[in-house]
Subunit: 312 residues, 2 copies
Amino acid sequence: MQDDPATRIRLDIAYDGTAFNGWTRQPGMRTVQGEIEAALAVVFRRFPPFPTLVVAGRTDAGVHATGQVAHLDLSPEQLRSLARPRRGKMQGRVYDAPASLGRRINGLAGLESDVYVSRSAIAPDGFDARFSAIWRRYEYRIADNLSPRNPIERRNTVWYPATLDIDLMNQAATSLLGLHDWATFCKPREGATTIRTLQEFRWQRSSDGILVAEVKADAFCHSMVRSLVGSCVAVGQGNLDPERLVGIRDERMRGSEFKVMPAKGLTMVEVGYPEDSGLAARAEQTRARRQAEEASPVLVRPSGSGLPTGPA
Amino acid sequence: MQDDPATRIRLDIAYDGTAFNGWTRQPGMRTVQGEIEAALAVVFRRFPPFPTLVVAGRTDAGVHATGQVAHLDLSPEQLRSLARPRRGKMQGRVYDAPASLGRRINGLAGLESDVYVSRSAIAPDGFDARFSAIWRRYEYRIADNLSPRNPIERRNTVWYPATLDIDLMNQAATSLLGLHDWATFCKPREGATTIRTLQEFRWQRSSDGILVAEVKADAFCHSMVRSLVGSCVAVGQGNLDPERLVGIRDERMRGSEFKVMPAKGLTMVEVGYPEDSGLAARAEQTRARRQAEEASPVLVRPSGSGLPTGPA
């Protein structure tokens, strides 16, 4: 039994990012990954080594999620340990071991916790939470002077002290769509491409009057959503001509014409994966591209992009 | 000028009740009334006596509001002090003094505050936030096993570990409507009537799957909304026959067939007032009835109710 392969589990996770120092485990900091891995170490305390998480989107401090996805690998021994309830009314009954992992993590976190595993299940063959993903979708919430200001929503809504013109913001958002180099909107990171496909970007007012942006791309570079939102806010307030925006993007230089908006307005809402049969191929393809990027000091051109390459 | 009448200001207020010990000022406790009156004492520090608030609904600890209403009376001197900005770019400009009161309270509370004055304006003649009100509307939010559990909403949504049958809950809610004695659903309070008209009570699932109750009555006695919700939850879980509910209500005795639900799921959303011309008459009528209630050890029968009276 020692040679049985590991079993990969997919976790779907929601969190209120307010009290977290982002997703990624860091010594001495409270992070989402750190909290869930600490719970895993309790669940599997008799079966080391303890599992670690691989995530679809490493959110920044203060960013929330309703549809984050992560995976972990369990040894046969760890998986079997889940299938045996130790006490209580479930003892001796057959039940869904992978689902029980989510319940145990939630139990350890407590009912009023700011992190919640909404689903845990065996992942399909070839699944990788990070490398199989084909798109990520985020929302950004702003209460401007036309919105009601509801203190219960202050943790995930930015209160903006001006009236924003949603038509201009949508004009700006639409102009930006497509496959481009987003260096203007990204905090540079060593060896990471800034070429992405912005698939959706639109603004609407929710039924209670809040301005909500939906933003979807194959992937986002660091601070990209908050910069995109900031550019629309500058346009919506009349401080930036929407027709200037494409030009600013294509200068590929961070400037001062708009601001990076606060983390608290941002929520990761969904991660897209291909059909099960395409998971492994997608992961292999993404992994290969990332390795090429990391090995090269220049940007890697996605096949067929038609974009010039240049220094990161 | 000393003999000018006071000017009554209406405040519309929203709050996240999580960190408040309810509305009503209490020594040594953080309450909504206490916080706003402390801000008023700062705003009018050179013009005592400081105004106090009269509120439409004195919410319990942990209960939220998006549409709470209160009033306060300003002396001519206090009102004039608002009309003179002391410094900054508004200095010397004519602006809306009553509206500036809300801005000053919000400024003192801070942008990330859990209480927010959404409107402040001179009240129409005869307005009394408490006694002119003709109805109050509340919402109650429950995430059952069919709902997503979003940690960002855990402050105003009760996570209920069962699947609730919304059709049964609506059957129960509808059966309760009308003018009745609600003693079964009320924490008794000395000299307060338990006879109220339940005008609306319905359940629906919000677009994100949360069970939301809308409850409207002329007024509510203490813990009434949370008890009404608890009775529907018992029905929705199959622990109470919806056809039993009217019988339980008319026994006018608190029993153990359902629970009072937690405060955190409850939000006061709206207060109804008559047209301006009816404000004074309504306040006079309500005040007279309350005085009669307080003077009498027995329940006062609202005119035309057709209900028996009995000991409170």
